[in-house]
């Protein structure tokens, strides 16, 4: 997030797009609810009538995968009606003139033809956001899990840039991160293109820095993303180590994924349970879990916080960092003689410019938002204040593209996937916590009542859902949260492995899978 969670109470206009926050980030959603109660206006764009949509002043029920068109229509209105923050655009951005010309090609009426949302609503939403003293954008995977995920994010950035809704309290572009430390995994350098602290692996200065720090030559080229790596398994890639990810259930196109992992010569999995992925491994190492591990995590607002051990782990389980460093030692490598989480974290701080002002002891109370570039620096709750890190904000000329697969006679229904409040991912944790099954005991396909009868199905009855990649048996739930023509399911239940179906396409830049759009056929069984 560009702005802290505490800012969520402060905007006049809140624009939530592709974020089912009350279910996926419930505590953050309480701040939105309070802002709305205080009088803030809420605009919600989502294909499903989620709880946030019920609260919204303007609800934009767009067709799955049509976000770019919606955002172009909004940008058009803002440009055409002279609602841009001209001072901000002049002082802090580039390409503004080209951008205005670009978006004038895409009026809301055009956007309506793609998104299915009333052009008047699109224009009104644009006006509200542009006229706000403090307009804030919140988004989640509904924006990123598309073949055009990067385009979607850049379209949101364009809106913020043209209205000056960035770099100030109560504004910003705010992705809600989905896992407790997914932000921290990136911060720590577990990325094919960045060293710790997002230092570019192609920059010779950083290459030299890490060659010296790690005492060996470093790779001068980008690594492949995990998605690409799975395609290379059994070919270029022969040995893999996976820490705490149930890859075969969470990733799209499960059959492909299982085949990839099976074709490795060597698979090491470090986890707390014998997951479906761990069952494919040659070596499984038992990790200490949350509540058993001292460590550090970063939340969605870049707040660096301590995790603390409360109880001993079962048997001989060990911290993940210990497992990995001991494999390295067994390979006869030097430089892996770490004895504590503190020592590991402090090394990370010493090599990461965004953590340079931090160490294990300084984060005791969790008050720092990175970047903290030097000792004594108070941290950076709000990014892009006064100037952007790279100088000026650059408008991007984004064009709408159809999803990788679109509905057809054979696959006439849009499937979109997501999460539900009581379940977390593949339920390795929530499925093993007493009582959660009282709230959610099985997977159900959410389908509009009109579609239930249209396809000859029954509320509560079984159906077979198919895509070009596979099929799953799933119970149908008639529910008007999803619009006619669109169905929804989560991937939480292993007995309804929805990710056998998904995976029609990937964003060309991030390789994020298009998990939010998958044309399917649903038939009675």
């Amino acid at each position: 997030m560009s702005n802290p969670l505490a800012d969520m109470d402060k905007p006049d206009v809140i624009f939530c797009i592709g974020t089912n926050m009350t279910e996926c980030h419930p505590v953050a959603a309480t701040r939105i609810k309070r802002a709305v109660a205080r009088g803030a206006k809420l605009i919600v764009a989502d294909p499903r009538r989620i709880a946030l949509a019920e609260m919204a002043d303007i609800y934009l029920p767009l067709r799955v995968g049509s976000d770019v068109a919606l955002l172009l229509g909004m940008a058009h209105t803002i440009a055409r009606e002279g609602l841009m923050d001209d001072g901000f655009v002049a002082d802090r951005t580039t390409e503004g003139r080209d951008f205005v010309e670009h978006v004038l090609e895409y009026p809301p009426e055009w956007a309506e033809s793609i998104t299915g949302v009333d052009a008047k609503l699109i224009a009104e939403a644009a006006r509200w956001y542009a006229k706000a003293d403090r307009g804030a954008i919140y988004y989640t995977l509904g924006i990123t899990e598309h073949i055009c995920g990067v385009d979607n994010v850049q379209s949101l950035c364009n809106l913020a840039l043209m209205t000056g809704n960035v770099g100030r309290e109560g504004t910003g572009i705010n992705p809600m991160r989905g896992q407790n430390n997914i932000q921290g995994a990136g911060d720590s350098g577990a990325l094919p293109n960045n060293y710790p602290g997002f230092q570019d692996v192609l920059d010779p200065a950083y290459q030299a820095k890490f060659a010296e720090a790690y005492g060996r030559e470093v790779d001068l080229e980008l690594g492949p993303t995990k998605v690409t790596a799975l395609d290379m398994c059994g070919d270029r890639i022969r040995a893999m180590i996976i820490n705490g990810e149930n890859t075969v259930v969470t990733d799209p196109d499960r059959e492909h994924c299982e085949h990839a992992l099976r074709s490795l010569d060597h698979l090491v999995v470090i986890d707390i349970f014998l997951t479906e992925t761990a069952q494919l491994a040659d070596v499984v190492l038992p990790a200490t879990a949350w509540a058993e591990t001292d460590g550090v995590c970063s939340n969605t607002e870049r707040r660096v916080q301590r995790l603390r051990k409360a109880v001993d782990p079962p048997g001989e389980a060990k911290p993940d960092w210990w497992c990995v460093s001991r494999i390295a030692q067994r390979m006869g490598l030097k430089g892996f003689e770490f004895e504590s989480a503190k020592q590991v974290f402090n090394e990370l701080c010493s090599l990461s410019p965004i953590y340079a002002g931090l160490d294990w002891d300084l984060i005791e109370h969790g008050e720092y938002h990175w970047p903290v570039p030097e000792r004594g620096h108070p941290g950076t709750p709000i990014l892009h204040k006064g100037e952007f890190e790279n100088g000026r904000g650059i408008f991007q000329m984004i064009r709408y593209r159809d999803p990788a697969e679109t509905i057809s006679e054979e696959y006439p229904i849009w499937l979109t996937t997501g999460r539900r409040l009581p379940a977390y991912h593949t339920r390795t944790q929530t499925g093993r916590s007493a009582g959660i099954e009282y709230l959610l005991s099985e997977e159900r396909l959410e389908m509009h009542p009109a579609d239930v009868s249209k396809w000859g199905l029954e509320d509560g009855g079984w159906a077979m859902m198919s895509s070009p990649r596979g099929q799953v048996r799933i119970k149908v739930e008639a529910n008007d949260r999803s619009p006619p023509g669109t169905v929804f399911a989560s991937f939480s239940f292993n007995d309804v492995p929805v990710n056998f179906l998904t995976g029609g396409g990937y964003d060309p830049i991030t390789h994020t899978a298009e998990l939010k759009v998958c044309p399917v056929r649903v038939e009675p069984v």
Binding site: N181, T225, V283, R303, V344, F345, I436
Partner: protein
């Protein structure tokens, strides 16, 4: 607009608190000012996260010029006010109030596992020596033993109608799942149509449990561990679920995790939690946990083994891959759920041991 009468300390004006001049920020209640000066004014209906309510009347203070004591939680401080937070008269009022409050409660000793604020009434009863049964007799509130939800105990016989649960659900959560039925002695905390919580707008975030000062609403999962021997230890950490990063206090006895309470001073959540953070903690000590390393045997199955064997086997596989297929034959996937140290070590291993950038985390799925 500060007139700086508080000596440049950010205060707007002064009042006299127990004979001492103290600074006040405009808009502060008498209770808030007194709390800053640790006057330990008793309250039962007060939760600093909620709008002041003025129901329990325990927070009364003497205000010069007013005939009767005033509720300090709802009274805004005004320049020049002179207030007294402790006196024989206030003590007498508070004791009578406590005796009346306690009279309709079946249990005045409440298990601390019930919830974060569950001891508030019991503590005040002791402080004012009010356990007399002086007003014993009629009781109000009907419990809901029929509610079969696995998280929230609804023992309204211990309810004192402070409305904290109703207010936290509305003001803090925005869920409006619980409401108040009837008035006076007939007051009953309930849900829409007097139904079960599971059929209401309740999301089982547990905030009502944690703000209840009497244990009338209580944490069923924590109370199930009431018989676990040992002192309850609290450990501050961060929730393992989404990226909001809510601070929690883990409750444990010896090596058993027995519950979770929200950290009221948690910077990201300020006391709020959701159903997962509040209740989905016991996966940690589930019997399915991996406790020993495993390696795949010649029979094709995974078998438990010792660390030496497992680490040697893990190392040998990587060494062989590099020898036979080069350094780009290795790939590492870090977790978005494990701490920084795990992700950092994974990338250090892949980059430092092999000299390749073939490392990623699970954020693309």
């Amino acid at each position: 607009m500060s007139d700086n009468s508080g000596n440049g300390t950010g205060f707007d004006f002064e009042i006299t608190l127990d004979g001492e001049k103290v600074g006040v920020r405009r808009g502060e209640s008498l209770y808030e000012v007194s709390e800053r000066h640790r006057k330990e004014i008793p309250t039962l209906c007060y939760d600093p996260r909620l709008d002041a309510f003025g129901a329990c009347r325990l927070c009364i203070v003497e205000l010069d010029g007013a005939r009767n004591p005033v509720a300090s939680c709802t009274m805004r401080a005004e320049p020049g006010m002179r207030i007294t937070t402790r006196s024989a008269r206030l003590d007498m009022h508070r004791r009578v109030l406590m005796e009346m409050v306690a009279s309709e409660n079946r249990d005045t000793d409440v298990d601390a596992l019930s919830g974060y604020a569950s001891q508030e009434m019991a503590v005040l009863l002791d402080r004012y020596e009010a356990r007399t049964g002086r007003f014993a007799g009629a009781r109000s509130g009907r419990s809901r033993p029929d509610d079969d939800n696995p998280f929230i105990l609804r023992d309204y016989e211990n309810c004192i109608s402070c409305y904290r649960c109703v207010r936290v659900c509305a003001e803090q959560e925005g869920d409006y799942a619980i409401s108040v039925m009837n008035r006076g002695f007939e007051t009953q905390i309930t849900t829409e149509f007097e139904g079960l919580l599971g059929d209401s707008a309740c999301t089982f975030c547990g905030q009502c449990i944690q703000t209840c000062p009497t244990g009338a609403l209580a944490d069923i999962k924590a109370l199930a561990n009431a018989d676990v021997p040992g002192e309850t230890k609290k450990t501050r950490t961060v929730c393992p679920y989404c990226g909001v990063g809510c601070s929690v206090d883990l409750l444990s006895r010896d090596d058993k995790l027995i519950g979770v309470q929200p950290a009221m001073d948690g910077p990201a959540n300020e006391g709020a939690l959701c159903v997962k953070g509040q209740f989905a903690f016991d996966f940690v000590q589930h019997p399915d946990r991996l406790a020993y390393p495993m390696v795949r045997g010649e029979d094709g199955e995974l078998h438990e083994t010792d660390w030496d064997t497992a680490l040697d086997r893990a190392a040998a596989g990587f060494t062989a891959a590099v020898e036979n297929h080069g350094r780009h034959s290795v790939y590492g996937v870090a977790s978005g759920r494990a701490p920084h140290e795990a992700a950092y070590m994974m990338q250090r291993f892949i980059r430092g041991a092999f000299g390749t950038n073939q490392i990623d985390n699970c954020s693309r799925a």
